[in-house]
């Protein structure tokens, strides 16, 4: 299950999806909006995506993870639109027979999301707003 949504994400849905009688471990990751960033008081985040491609790239992360680790099932849901402090913007769940694979694939997924999935966040802070990553001009590699 790899999708984007405009609704709050339900962790139980992901965990149910990856539940598997062959699995002894489920690792999950939740990205939440935190109240500060680089010294700014953050009011909230606002996410935008290139939807068709974002879902495709999330699925590709799943495929890549399955090539690298023995995992049972994987789910990623990324939320779009405004996400308030403490709310979740992304949730990942991975099940596997043994815990090493679940942890590794879960960590891999969040790193890849931050590198390669066409989703952008605008940070709304006290005194302004900014598209994160845009000013830094960090080089990104072509895949």
């Amino acid at each position: 299950m790899f999708r984007i949504t405009n609704q709050p994400i339900d962790l139980q849905e992901l965990v149910r999806f990856v539940t598997d009688p062959e699995a002894g471990a489920i690792a999950t990751f939740i990205g939440t909006t935190r109240n500060n960033n680089e010294g700014r008081n953050v009011i909230g985040l606002d996410y935008e995506a290139y939807p068709e491609m974002a879902e495709k790239e999330l699925g590709r992360i799943g495929d890549d993870a399955k090539k690298q680790w023995q995992i049972c099932r994987m789910a990623i849901i990324h939320r779009l639109g405004p996400v308030q402090i403490t709310e979740a913007s992304v949730m990942i769940a991975v099940s596997s027979a043994h815990r090493e694979a679940a942890f590794a694939a879960c960590r891999f997924a969040i790193e890849q999301i931050k590198k390669a999935v066409p989703i952008w966040k605008k940070e709304v802070f006290e005194g302004g707003e900014v598209w994160i990553g845009t000013q830094t001009g960090q080089p990104l590699n072509h895949k």
């Binding site: 931050k114 999935v117 066409p118 990104l140």
Partner: protein, 81 residues
Amino acid sequence: MKIKVKFFAILRERAGTAEVTKEIKEGSTVGDLWQALQQEYPKLNVPGIRLLYAVNQNYVKPENQLSDQDEVVFIPPVSGG
């Protein structure tokens, strides 16, 4: 040929539109299209920005040649998660 261009995030705000259809000559590359768009929308030129390029929802290099009806997106630094 006709190319559908979508803008997201900072480029959407700079262009003032989310989508345009652009007429461009046969054999043009993604890089050529970007040059042409910057003429039309000078604000797209964000100082220091590093873009990726997608054609029909796949990442490509700027040398990639376009085909009629392609969907092109210029991808600002992603910041999901």
